[in-house]
């Protein structure tokens, strides 16, 4: 049982889309271990997505949220929270719903405590005015790893040997409607019933940025690549997360998927029946997660894209949006 200590700053910043546009966001930035006097240097440096939180079942997690303020909106004194979405058995204090507990004002800290009881793919986000703060970018992936990994020294999605894999990738789905981002930056309101995104993002980027490497210098605040590499024959786990406000329909041409988990649950019946299934399309609603394993086929490039084809665009132009590639190399 490890004790894990992490610290996130909540602040704002800017992200880029392949059409050259820049968009104001709210978000989180990893400030774990940053000396107190240097923390303020992270103001305005929010990342999309927020830092990946990877923990083990049975760990004890102390997660400190520091509200660094919004230098792009110095007039706005919004509080923030962290909500571990789908995470079972939280007391309200750790649940991040401000109406039912507390939230963190500018310049303050609060330490959340979590004890992950079950492995799987989750997500986290701010729950203060969630309609605005989730769309603005306060979203990130959360993976709870199973005990079995520690025992076997191999990788598993769940505590079940059938879920063994060689590599994994997160496929995190969100949308971006540029209008509220613009209006929030310019101190104006937005009627959320008019929400109509024109950008569709994988791991915080739109194609072709999705296939640029991780930490690409042209995308300083969008650190995640969506390019998926594997050697032929390897077992690849994809962790799909939908934290947009729409349903999505993801396919990989030429690669069937074995769906082994949904909403952080191994697909097993009440009496341990195997309920996993094969599918070519991951159809996923807002706030759901899906774990799929595929066996990497022969060497080649396999497009991954959203079958809602209008989401393969950047502000209306082909190709863009929710598109990336699975690159399979010959087995070494």
């Amino acid at each position: 049982m490890a004790v894990v200590k992490k610290r996130l700053g909540a602040t704002d910043g800017f992200i880029r889309m392949p059409d050259g546009t820049s968009h104001y966001i709210f978000g989180f930035v990893d400030i774990t271990g940053v000396p107190e006097e240097a923390v303020f240097m992270y103001r305005g440096k929010a990342n999309l997505l927020a830092p990946l939180l990877e923990v083990y079942e049975g760990d004890e997690i102390y997660l400190t949220l520091t509200n660094l303020g919004l230098p792009g909106r110095p007039d706005l004194d919004d509080t923030h929270t962290i909500h571990w979405h789908g995470f079972p058995n939280q007391i309200p204090l750790w649940d991040g719903v401000p109406e039912a507990s507390l939230s963190v004002p500018v310049g303050r800290d609060f330490t959340y405590y979590y004890e992950p009881l079950a492995p799987g793919t989750y997500m986290y986000h701010c729950h203060f005015e969630p309609v605005e703060h989730i769309q603005m970018g306060m979203v990130g992936p959360l993976v709870v790893r199973p005990q079995l990994e520690k025992e076997q020294q191999r990788k598993f999605a769940y505590n079940d040997i059938s879920t063994q894999f060689d590599r994994e990738a997160i496929v995190f789905l969100t949308e971006l409607d540029a209008r509220p981002h613009y209006l929030v930056a310019n101190v104006q309101g937005f009627d959320w019933t008019e929400y109509a995104p024109r950008y569709w993002l994988l791991n915080g980027r739109s194609y072709p940025d999705t296939i640029k490497p991780a930490d690409d210098p042209s995308l300083p605040y969008q650190p995640y690549s969506s390019l998926i590499h594997a050697y032929a024959g390897e077992r690849v786990l994809l962790r799909f997360v939908n934290l947009g406000y729409e349903q999505h329909s993801i396919q990989i041409l030429g690669i069937p998927l074995h769906i082994i988990g949904q909403d952080a649950q191994l697909l097993r019946g009440y009496y341990d029946e195997d309920l996993s299934y094969h599918k070519s399309t991951v159809y996923i609603g807002a706030g759901q997660t899906t774990d799929a394993i595929f066996r990497a086929p022969r060497a080649g490039k396999y497009p991954l894209y959203n079958r809602d084809l209008h989401k393969n665009t950047v502000a209306g132009k082909f190709f863009g949006g929710m598109v990336t590639e699975v690159t399979v190399l010959p087995a070494p």
Binding site: S101, Y113, D263, Q265, Y271
Partner: protein, 384 residues
């Protein structure tokens, strides 16, 4: 024979942002107010039921019972209705001022919908819908083994039960119907999203509050730790909603009134978000156990000075001020706490987040709370 009388009537529903919206709904008495959703209809598997519908609205109205077999009206099987070879109704209807009767025998237990079958793209969004619960033939709420959703030995015992019926409001449609004007269904864009005919925060009020005479059903879920809470989702609108309860997964045990079981194979599953599609129903069990923090087993972080924290929404909170169940702490001066006895509140809401607004303003819409009380009267969560 069970006999249920319904009257189709009009009325005005209230939204928390002060709008009053013309709607069509059902009433269970001749002079009572119309309501949205219509009265819960509670039946028993294998026992015939007759529903008399009296239409006081200005156009023909009928009732569909999706999932129910062998429906008859005046002794004849119900039929789609045509005028000049054009479909006008999915089933036999009552003209203005008329009464029509439908008879059937619910064949299987579960959760179902009833809704208008005449001009449904208009009449269902206007509010002509309601929920049906069919009790298993062996149902007996006094004996735990027989207080089930799907019958003894199906693993569906429950302690309390709640219906959550989704719906949407597009005000332009309601205005056009009120003024007798035509309405085009392109660009159907709702501005309000409802659970049990109410938008948050009204969803969290009790049943039958006097200032919501047409919206008698609350949507607050109340339970004690460890109890098996049967939550029945019904998609009565025309949109699809990913409903997400905080605090734990729900175990989905039935879909559209079918127990998720194939012979001896249990096909139930746990989800933290359930996509409730139009016309669909979900029976599911929610159980909150808790992490066991008590003052004797303290929380492993230090509660900060609450004056330095944001508490609740400006001016109010549902929080007790304490991390412990059943313990009330102090909330800062000037914050009103609606917490009664140190109970916990977990949000349950649509994760298509614009749906938790009232015409774009958060908080609102398709949102409610699951309240976990240290102790609670056994009559709370009894479906009537």
């Amino acid at each position: 024979m069970q006999v249920i009388n319904l009257w189709a009537k009009d009325g005005y529903l209230s939204t928390p942002d002060g709008n009053s919206i013309y709607f069509w709904g059902f009433s269970s008495t001749a002079d009572g107010p119309s309501q949205i959703p219509g009265p819960h209809l509670i039946m028993r598997q294998g026992e015939p039921v007759t529903i008399n519908l009296t239409n006081t609205l200005p156009e023909p109205v009928s009732l569909l019972f999706p999932g129910q077999p062998g429906i008859t009206s005046a002794g004849q099987p119900v039929q789609p209705q045509y005028i000049d070879n054009k479909l006008v109704s999915f089933t036999n209807y009552a003209r203005p001022g008329e009464t029509i009767s439908y008879t059937f025998t619910p064949a299987r237990p579960g959760t179902f919908l009833y809704e208008s079958g005449t001009n449904p793209p208009r009449q269902v969004p206007m509010g002509l819908y309601g929920g049906i619960v069919v009790r298993p033939a062996d149902y007996n709420p006094a004996v735990r083994r027989y207080k089930t959703a799907y019958g003894a030995e199906t693993g569906t015992e429950f302690d309390r039960e709640y219906l959550l019926i989704t719906g949407e409001i597009k005000p332009e449609l309601h205005r056009a119907v009120e003024q007798g004007k035509p309405y085009s269904f392109k660009n159907y864009k709702p501005r309000y999203w409802m659970l049990n005919g109410r938008c948050a925060p009204d969803t969290m009020l009790m049943d039958n509050v006097v200032y919501l005479p047409h919206q008698p059903y609350g949507a607050m879920i109340m339970a004690q730790p460890g109890e098996r809470v049967l939550i029945r989702y019904i998609g009565a609108g025309i949109a699809h909603h990913p409903l997400h309860p905080h605090g734990n997964h729900t175990r989905v045990i039935g879909l559209d009134g079918y127990l998720l079981r194939n012979g001896s194979t249990d096909l139930s599953y746990k989800r933290f978000t359930v996509l409730v599609g139009a016309g669909q129903t979900y029976d599911q069990i929610y159980q909150w156990e808790g992490l066991g923090y008590t003052p004797d087993n303290p929380i492993p972080t230090i509660l900060p000075n609450l004056r330095n924290m944001g508490i609740g929404e400006p001016g109010w909170t549902l929080w007790s001020g304490s991390p412990y169940l059943g313990v009330k702490g102090d909330v800062p001066k000037g914050v009103t706490s609606f917490n009664e006895m140190g109970e916990y509140y977990f949000m349950l809401h649509s994760h298509e987040e614009p749906q938790i607004t009232n015409w774009g303003e958060f908080p609102g819409g398709m949102m409610t709370m699951i309240a976990i009380y240290p102790s609670l009267s056994p009559t709370v969560g009894e479906l009537k």
